[in-house]
């Protein structure tokens, strides 16, 4: 990638951009379980702190008489999330609204890393000795699966909290198929358990894949545009960036909505 080497071919360029800065560093292909993606972790962590700092600052300097425009903007986001939570979630939990807000803003921030020029941060990283860098944490399947797993585990815990451990286990073996007699109940137990496992698994997988697939494809299209000659980049680049603004916000919104829906499904009685 540096200037003194030969110019990379299109495939080499893209393959280079798809390798995470990881510990121990791999160059694609050979992964082992303990490969840790440093870039995903640090970018996500920094953006999480950006979110907390921004919202904390506004909350601390909140003013009723003279709200700044930024305060109004933050209030707009908080109210949007709060309204959705009130609409969908009927249980009693003080956790859901902050969780939904965090999920939404954090994912928007992480997705928005796509709007930085694809080569900007990798080139800067090259200057300080980081040879691989992927700046969009949500384009990494590990980040998506980590978030969706957290949501699924949280929804299970909320279910246990709402119905008690006994009620949760009873539902695990008696829903979705109900039966009358004792014999049929026992016959249906493994079927129900399998169905519930499939349900939780497919929820988590589809939640993660939807976000990661969108971001990964968006990132790849930006890379393909970056391969065009310089005079041909402006129009497709700006067109895709404008379309991508919609996708970035929409995917974060969908992730937030589904988080609320899964949590409310967990606490509802059947």
């Amino acid at each position: 990638m540096s200037a003194e080497q030969h110019a990379p071919s299109a495939t080499e360029y893209i393959q280079h951009h798809l390798i995470n800065l990881s510990s121990p560093q791999t160059t694609g292909g050979a992964y082992n379980f303990w490969t840790f993606h440093l870039d995903t972790f640090w970018v996500a962590l920094i953006l999480g702190f950006v979110f907390v700092a921004l919202f904390g600052l506004v909350a601390r300097r909140v003013s009723v008489d003279k709200p700044t425009k930024f305060q109004l903007f933050i209030e707009l986001i908080v109210e949007l999330v709060d309204n959705h939570v009130k609409e969908i979630f009927h249980g009693k939990s003080k956790l859901i609204a902050p969780l939904a807000l965090t999920v939404f803003v954090w994912i928007v921030l992480m997705n928005a890393m796509d709007f930085l020029p694809v080569d900007l941060l990798p080139l800067l990283g090259q200057k300080v000795g980081l040879h691989y860098l992927r700046v969009v944490p949500t384009a990494d399947i590990n980040q998506g699966l980590a978030m969706s797993l957290s949501v699924i585990i949280l929804s299970i815990l909320l279910g246990i909290q709402a119905k008690g451990a006994g009620g949760f286990i009873k539902e695990f073996f008696t829903a979705p198929f109900h039966a009358e007699g004792m014999g049929m109940k026992i016959v249906l137990m493994p079927v129900n358990a399998a169905m519930q496992c499939i349900e939780y698994g497919s929820r988590g997988l589809s939640l993660a894949l939807r976000l990661v697939g969108n971001m990964f494809a968006g990132e790849l299209v930006f890379m393909l545009i970056a391969l065009l000659p310089w005079w041909g980049q402006l129009i497709p680049g700006s067109a895709w960036a404008i379309f991508h603004i919609l996708i970035v916000v929409l995917q974060a919104y969908i992730f937030m909505m589904l988080t609320i829906v899964y949590c409310s499904l967990a606490v509802e009685e059947h």
Partner: protein
Amino acid sequence: MEHVALIANVQQFTVLAIGLMIGLAGVGAAIGVALVGAKFLEGAARQPESAAALQPKLFVIAGLVDAIFIITVAVALMFAFGNPLLGMVK
């Protein structure tokens, strides 16, 4: 020589597979989004007062339908630029 022919064979089928993946997923997503949009317009025309309530739901469902297409494109592009099947030939 046989090895080269084997790689070419894999690449040839991968190209076909990529075309099928993107094409079929595109057809499906297009039909799906079109149905969602048509029903939304129908509903909005019948009850204009509910259009504002339906619009965010329209975007959510369009996003859900679109996601399958986008995931397919991502997998197809992965096959195009870093074909894992080629590793099996060696």
